[in-house]
Amino acid sequence: MTLADFVNLLINGTVEGLLMALPALALTLVMAIARFPNAATGDYMTVSAYAAVGVQWLIPGSLLLAAVGAIAAGVAVSLLFYLWVFRALRGRPLVASLVASIGVAFFARSILTFSVGQDQLALQVPMMRAWNFSGIRVLPLDLVVAAVSIVAMALLFTLLRLTPVGRQMRAVADNPDLARASGIRANRVLLVLWAVVGALCALGGFLFGAKSVVSPELGWEQLIPAFAAMILGGIGSPAGAVAGAVLLGIAQELSVPLVGPSYKIAVAFAVLLLVLLVRPRGLFGVAIAAR
């Protein structure tokens, strides 16, 4: 393997990781603030990707409009299921919301397949040749994927760190009772949370669809990798989710010359196991026992 090959693998892994970071962030935010693993995360991605295809069908050509459509759909579907299902389950045990979210996932997917069928669709993405720097190939589309992910994450961290509602979200994540006692209205915080989650899933679904194909199982299949990234990074830590996703992505691709593509996913999970053995709370996780 030459250096160029190695760098190519590194690039592939980073891009896949940055892509996976979006649903991982959505998962970890819900985990931190609404306090349950949201199994419908993947299907929010799927619905958004279909919305993007729908927008392109109505207005051919524009990728930007398709992205806007995807975000609108993602936010709408996320808020809908919050108001309809998850709000009623607040304060119940985690299992209630978890099971409900699995139901939401199946429900959303069934509605989707019932109305648009099982066949694959594709986003119309302009085909561009890769830039070739003496063997190191960079796909323009991959740069877009990476840039969009990074910008989305920057916006999220700005929201969490620098705005009042972000501070309130972190306060609720840190200690819901204390937050309530200090007059933070949980309802508003949760609405913002679910809107953000919807937007993150939408971007993930849109970029995933642009890179691959849009099919009913698009998001559901990414749920386990996103979970793994969240756990690796430390449950509830946004920075951890990103780091976890990128680390898993890189580990996965770099292992290919050693174990072949069939086992690269297993290697990613072996890395997860190793990290958790040494550091059970994950990379950026807070030790829960201290609370």
Partner: protein
């Protein structure tokens, strides 16, 4: 809650019982003069674009047989279920067909997963199973010789890939396989043929489903500088593979199965990307009279040519070969006796016949017949597998153009 039944309850219950008694499918005293056939086509799910046509072709064949007075003194009676292209759903449906309808043959299972799931049931019930699936394991698991495959095996498809690569004069082949029995079966079949003439393939990769990208896998393959990449792939992964390959700008040709390199692939990627992709798929027995007659009937029923659905030609042949076997086995034959005659009436030697009526006439004169199907010559080997012909297509300006017919 009320605990005394009202008049309305009685009415409802009465109607239910009446409906039950009236339902023809629930006939208790089934006449011994019929041979009961179950169809289990993929009406919904992944195979849904083929399923309805497959079932229609069974009905067309059934009408042909029954219209000619039945086979071996018996009419065929059809019970239809939907496999949903899912092994779990197919198992439930097969159980119902076997236990409730007491069918003596199940016809038309489509994907290998479905066929492999249904086979243990038909085997246990000692009834005939006829499928259109490719997995090589179906041949070896069929220990009672009750399973008949009307589609090419993945091995044969791989051999057809080899023939296509040979015709095009490629020198350095690489393979990429989707990680399942069918995907790997196709590329292994190719390697068997290829390595005899050219030595090892220059690179081969087995990849996982549902990945957002196959760049790393492509890098492994393209790094070996092949002039052709042969895939055992499906539509979604082929779409991603070709898009990413095109963007790398490296010059290489592709040979793909016809169910992956189809009109949907062109639609997803645009004409420029797929230009020159070679597709290989089984084709029907297009020169045969049986094919032409079925085509006319199918056109009438479905409004489309039978060439749009190779599997429908296969299910049609299932009924005809089964009926000819019943005719040859004579009145009152058991399932095993009928099963034992399937090769006799389909394989050479014998007078070639192209319809049930022709065959029935000759069988009555105690002649040996060789049914030439609409789907293939329909000559079963010792595993109960046929060897259809293959078409080699090239995608040109978005059109999938047939260039050659490959006979293995």
């Amino acid at each position: 809650m009320r605990d005394t039944p009202t008049r309305r309850d009685f009415l409802a219950a009465g109607a239910g019982v009446a409906a039950l008694a009236a339902a023809p499918r629930f006939a208790f005293g089934q006449a011994a003069t019929t041979f009961r056939v179950g169809s289990l086509c993929p009406i919904s799910g992944g195979g849904s674009s083929y399923g309805s046509g497959m079932q229609k072709a069974i009905e067309i064949a059934l009408a042909e047989v029954n219209g000619d007075g039945g086979a071996g003194g018996r009419k065929l009676e059809l019970f239809s279920e939907d496999s949903q292209t899912k092994p779990e759903a197919a198992v439930l449906a097969a159980k119902k067909l076997i236990e409730v309808n007491k069918v003596q043959a199940i016809l038309g299972t489509w994907s290998s997963g479905v066929t492999l799931a249904v086979m243990p049931l038909t085997d246990a019930a000692n009834i005939i199973e006829m499928n259109t699936s490719g997995a090589p394991a179906i041949s070896t698991l069929d220990t009672k010789d009750l399973v008949w495959r009307f589609q090419a095996t993945n091995d044969q498809i791989g051999a057809a890939f080899g023939a296509a690569a040979e015709k095009r004069g490629f020198k350095r082949a690489a393979t990429m396989a989707f990680n399942n029995a069918s995907g790997i079966g196709n590329t292994e079949g190719f390697k068997k043929v290829w390595e005899k003439a050219h030595g090892k393939v220059v690179a081969s990769v087995v990849y996982e489903p549902n990945r957002p990208s196959y760049r790393t896998e492509l890098q492994q393959i393209l790094g070996a500088k092949p002039d052709v990449v042969v895939t055992g792939s499906y539509l979604p992964d082929s779409t991603i593979l070709l898009r990413e390959w095109y963007q790398t700008g490296q010059d290489v040709k592709w040979i793909m199965p016809g169910w992956a390199a189809n009109a949907d692939l062109v639609k997803a990627l645009g004409n420029e990307v797929v230009e020159g992709v070679i597709a290989v798929d089984a084709i029907s027995n297009e020169g045969a009279a049986s094919y032409k007659r079925l085509d006319a009937e199918y056109q009438k029923a479905m409004g489309k040519s039978i060439s749009t659905n190779v599997y429908a030609a296969m299910t049609y042949d299932m009924v005809i070969s089964l009926a000819l076997a019943m005719e040859a086995a004579g009145p009152g034959a058991t399932v095993a006796q009928v099963n034992g005659k399937i090769r006799d009436v389909s394989n050479p030697p014998g007078t070639k016949v192209f319809s049930f009526a022709e065959g029935k006439k000759l069988l009555a004169q105690k002649q040996k017949v060789n049914y030439e199907g609409a789907s293939s010559r329909l000559d079963f080997d010792k595993y109960g597998d046929v060897t259809p012909d293959f078409g080699m297509y090239v995608i040109e300006k978005g059109q999938i153009v047939r260039k050659d017919v490959i006979t293995l």
